[in-house]
């Protein structure tokens, strides 16, 4: 059974790499319009002062679900993935989270995959360190001589690597359920309800807002520098980047004073309060979620000897 899973995972890999190649190779997709602000394929990076994950979260169809419920479900699933450490659980989580975000949330599958593949470089490099080992003598099922010793690997090590990769992908999928369907401001409000200290929550709220202001300022400064050949070659672009970044810090410190004055003018008294939409936890959603968690536990219990 283990061999089949390894094979299936190896088949999955080219698909993921293909997605990355498409993502980096095609910056201006023709025929696929996601709205005016969303024409670049660089997920996770800013385009004109906005972050695509934030955009996806606001346009998700299951944004109306109770945010605390989504955060709890997502965190619980991540913890189960790690604690149970079972390849069947991982596979079920990958598929069901993709289903929830794509089918129920209405996110295009290509966008889902491109967010899922953000950590892929890190995953592949770190798995490489786990599946390959070195020793002085020729041991293991496959080995290569590299001058002073041997690099070798064995089937159990490969299996361990692939299972670990699936576990990471499962945990990342569960995290995606939260970040691709719940806007950050709602996640922060969940933290406030969880009794995280007020100053910390206020700081997070302010930082979240300031991030977009600074992104916008940076985008404009970068345009200005670019149109003056500021990114002509490596040396110039290092100099430009440094100058733009230092200017950004100066501007942000100046703005900080102005924002405090604005808050003071609106009766800021050491506590930031925001109007929140009331979203009730729907019993029709909570029961299947509870069933899903129980199913994961049952699956682990039944298969704990098999792999």
């Amino acid at each position: 059974m283990g061999k089949f899973i390894v094979l299936a995972a190896l088949l999955l890999l080219p698909v993921l790499i293909f997605t990355i190649v498409r993502r980096t190779g095609r910056k201006h997709p023709a025929g696929h319009e996601h709205g005016p602000a969303h024409t670049h394929r660089h997920i996770g990076h800013k385009h004109g002062g906005m972050l695509s994950i934030d955009y996806f979260a606001y346009s998700s169809k299951i944004r109306g679900w109770n945010p605390a419920f989504k955060v709890v479900l997502s965190v619980l699933t991540i913890v189960l993935c790690i604690a149970l450490d079972n390849v069947y659980v991982s596979a079920v989580v990958i598929v069901s989270m993709a289903y929830l975000v794509i089918a129920a949330g209405g996110l295009p599958p290509r966008d889902y995959l491109s967010v899922l593949t953000i950590p892929l470089t890190f995953i592949l490099i770190s798995i490489l360190a786990i599946v390959v080992d070195f020793s002085a003598g020729p041991v293991g099922q496959w080995h290569v001589h590299i001058g002073f010793g041997y690099l070798y690997t064995t089937a159990p090590m490969l299996k361990k690597g692939v299972f670990l990769m699936l576990k990471i992908l499962a945990a990342v999928s569960a995290l995606q359920l939260m970040i691709l369907t719940t806007p950050s401001s709602e996640i922060i409000s969940v933290l406030r309800k969880a009794r995280v200290p007020g100053i910390l929550v206020d700081l997070m709220n302010l930082i979240y807002r300031f991030i977009f202001i600074l992104m916008d300022v940076f985008a404009r400064m970068k345009n200005a520098a670019e149109s003056r050949l500021g990114y002509r070659d490596f040396k110039t672009s290092c100099y430009t980047f440094g100058s733009v970044a230092s200017n950004l810090l100066i501007l942000s410190l100046k703005k900080a004073g102005a924002y405090y004055d604005a808050m003071e003018a609106r009766c800021y008294d050491g506590e930031l309060l925001f109007l929140e939409e009331e979203k009730k936890a729907d019993i029709k959603v909570v029961i299947p979620a509870a069933a899903f968690v129980l199913y994961l536990l049952l699956l682990w219990y039944l298969t704990r000897q098999a792999v």
């Binding site: 996770g44 990076h45 800013k46 972050l51 934030d54 965190v75 913890v79 993935c81 790690i82 604690a83 950590p119 470089t121 890190f122 995953i123 490099i125 770190s126 490489l128 360190a129 786990i130 080992d133 070195f134 990471i168 499962a170 990342v172 995606q176 939260m178 970040i179 950050s184 996640i187 200290p197 100053i199 910390l200 700081l203 302010l206 930082i207 979240y208 300031f210 991030i211 990114y231 490596f234 040396k235 672009s237 290092c238 100099y239 980047f241 440094g242 100058s243 970044a245 230092s246 200017n247 950004l248 810090l249 100066i250 942000s252 410190l253 703005k255 004073g257 924002y259 405090y260 050491g270």
Partner: protein, 248 residues
């Protein structure tokens, strides 16, 4: 540009070219799901004393001058934006700064620990870098260990009367390298090698990440120096306000 800067930039360009920058070389966030439960909890617990110290220092600042809340928040936002920006690299691939060295030099290590954990949370929920269960490990390597080393080297170079900008370069670059070493050790502790144990495993992780992280550290050091140059030229007042020039 001064002659010294030119030489430094040329040297870095040569190093970066020689080692080659792999596509999408971000800072080394440990992914969600990578660490077993025991390690997630252990690293979280190790962070607590540092975070508590940072918490009290921030609280003290805020009760003294309430106005500094926007400055603190702007600082956090600045570190986040800096770490999400594509930095120039020779091969046209995309890599990012960590910005923690700069943060530690400008704002002190205690404030950076709290701001660092908030920035890491936002990196997880807005950029899908890092994760929630690995937050403890990432906080330790990026918001505590790296900044502390940066600050230590910066102070040391001041005591030893090394040129200020060389000191800043060393502080930022070595802080970055230290973060990378700590992360490798964290990975190795969780996944020790079958034969050689933790030490062999650590060497393996250091080796596979070196091609991306070493050039990155050099570039980070250079960019930090350029940023400080710009700040010293145009923002004497603001720097005095946050305490950078006062000390120096």
């Amino acid at each position: 540009m001064k002659k010294k800067q030119k030489i430094a930039l040329t040297v870095s360009a040569v190093i970066a070219l020689a080692l080659g920058v792999v596509p999408a070389a971000g800072a080394m966030h440990i992914m969600e799901g990578y660490l077993p439960v025991a390690y997630c909890i252990a690293w979280g617990v190790i962070c607590i004393p540092f975070l508590v110290a940072g918490w009290f220092s921030i609280k003290k600042t805020l009760t003294g001058h309430r106005k500094s809340i926007t400055i603190l928040a702007m600082t956090g936002a600045f570190i986040f934006v800096l770490s999400s920006l594509k930095i120039p690299s020779v091969t046209g691939s995309c890599s990012h700064m960590t910005g923690t060295g700069l943060g530690a030099i400008l704002f002190g290590a205690t404030a950076v620990s709290i701001l660092g954990i908030i920035v890491l949370i936002f990196q997880a929920i807005l950029l899908a870098h890092g994760g929630l269960t690995t937050l403890g490990a990432n906080t330790f390597s990026m918001a505590i260990a790296g900044p502390l080393v940066s600050l230590g080297i910066y102070k040391l170079s001041k005591v030893l009367k090394i040129n200020k900008h060389v000191g800043i370069f060393l502080a930022a670059a070595l802080g970055d390298l230290f973060t990378y070493c700590v992360t490798s050790v964290q990975l190795a502790l969780a996944y020790p090698s079958a034969q050689g144990g933790v030490a062999t495993s650590a060497v393996k992780f250091l080796a596979v990440f070196a091609p991306t992280q070493v050039p990155l550290a050099v570039i980070e050091g250079l960019l930090t120096v350029v940023i400080i140059f710009g700040l010293e030229t145009y923002a004497k007042n603001e720097l005095t306000e946050i305490g950078f020039l006062k000390v120096g």
